[in-house]
């Protein structure tokens, strides 16, 4: 097969175009939420199933959050283990590493609008939030899901609590809770505490 003329002509393109293409892409490459291979579709399906199941189970419970918070823990084989977080009950979580080496625990819950674009909330304790957002920006996440990336401290020894506030416009409520993450052997465990749901008052 003869070489297309365009292929030859491209060697005379300006340097700036070549250099830009040779550089790392601006949209972060791969942007894996987790370092280990993740069958994203399975994980998202799992989250959805858990969310539906837990949503039904939690209906009408006092003190329970009006949404399901899912925690992720790495496993030796397969994708991450997703567990529902119930108030006061600890479940295993893992410190997942973003591409820049930043470590954090990952949680998710369904967004109020299932068609809404996926979002990532950075819950950090005094960390450089802007830099953190930049570091994990570009993640390709499931639409209609809110992901929480709780940045763990470098030393990782002390427990950390991340306050989280969720407004439910349909029910006109605001739920406040805290996600507590502690060292548990070689890994971490997380639990939600102090779940308080209050009716949202209209501004006077």
């Amino acid at each position: 097969m003869n070489m297309p003329k365009l292929i030859e002509a491209m060697n005379e393109l300006d340097d700036e175009l070549i250099l830009a293409a040779a550089a790392d892409p601006q949209t972060k490459a791969k942007a894996p939420l987790f370092r280990r291979p993740l069958p994203a579709a399975c994980a998202c399906l799992l989250v959805l199933v858990l969310a539906l199941a837990a949503g039904l189970a939690w209906q009408g419970q006092r003190g329970a959050a009006p949404f399901v918070l899912t925690a992720y823990a790495a496993q030796d084989a397969g994708g991450p283990l997703a567990s529902q977080l119930r108030p006061g009950q600890a479940v295993p979580v893992s410190a997942f590493t973003a591409e820049n080496g930043l470590k954090g625990a990952v949680f998710s819950h369904a967004a109020q609008d299932p068609k809404a674009p996926a979002s990532v909330l950075i819950l950090a304790d005094g960390a450089d939030a802007e830099g953190t957002i930049r570091a994990i920006a570009g993640l390709e996440l499931e639409r209609g899901t809110v992901y929480l990336f709780c940045v763990l401290p470098e030393d990782g020894k002390a427990g950390h609590s991340f306050p989280y506030l969720l407004r439910n416009e349909a029910q006109n409520t605001v739920t406040a809770l805290s996600i507590s993450i502690e060292r548990d052997g070689d890994g971490y465990s997380a639990k939600i505490e102090n779940v308080v749901t209050t009716e949202q008052r209209a501004a006077s």
Binding site: M1, E12, P25
Partner: protein, 198 residues
């Protein structure tokens, strides 16, 4: 590092930087070693994408270093990396053209086919030379989004596989194929608009 020109190693030590805003001066075996350290991987990968043979690619890259040594000076490229990559690409394509008997990489043939559908040789040949076409291509690429532009160049300049591009940009392979298809379609329309009979 003695000789008619100083090596760019020396120049870098003096605070020079090889880049758009500065000239670069090349010479000496140390400079070649340093060039290989800095750009060897890129060059080898580019040449291997074209020649589908590690051995041929290494030879081609060595030839490119030699060509670089001979050309600089008197030439003063604005950017050494782009200049070197162009030499490697050119030499590799020439070698590919020369060794017609050798089996070609299917991925490369596919990229040739994709571009040939945009602009078949025989129809174009009478209308413009390579420089004119490069100028048009440059104008077209500048009006594309940075992502579409980079994906296009990764495919047809660096000859990366679709899978490689997908991994590089964090896209699915189907997204890369779709991006390339739409960019080729726009390029064809652009060339037609610019008077190239496609």
């Amino acid at each position: 590092m003695n000789g008619p020109c100083s090596s760019f190693l020396q120049k870098e030590a003096e605070g020079w930087r090889i880049g758009r805003s500065s000239s670069c001066i090349f010479g000496g075996t140390s400079a070649i070693r340093e060039t290989d350290r800095k750009y060897g991987r890129l060059c080898l990968s580019l040449s291997r994408n074209i020649l589908a043979s590690g051995e041929d690619a290494r030879e081609c890259v060595s030839d490119a270093y030699l060509a670089l040594w001979r050309r600089i000076p008197p030439e003063k490229p604005e950017d050494l990396m782009a200049y070197l990559a162009k030499i490697v690409r050119d030499l590799s394509l020439k070698r590919l053209d020369h060794d017609r008997a050798k089996k070609r990489c299917p991925e490369l043939l596919l990229s040739f086919e994709e571009l040939e559908a945009v602009l078949p040789d025989e129809r174009f040949a009478a209308q413009a030379d390579g420089a004119a076409l490069a100028s048009l291509l440059g104008a077209f690429l500048r009006q594309e989004t940075p992502t579409a532009r980079s994906v296009f160049l990764r495919r047809y300049w660096f000859f990366d596989s679709v899978r490689g591009i997908a991994a590089r940009f964090g896209f699915s392979e189907s997204k890369v194929k779709s991006l390339l298809f739409r960019t080729r379609r726009r390029l064809r329309a652009f060339l037609k608009k610019e008077g190239i009979d496609v």
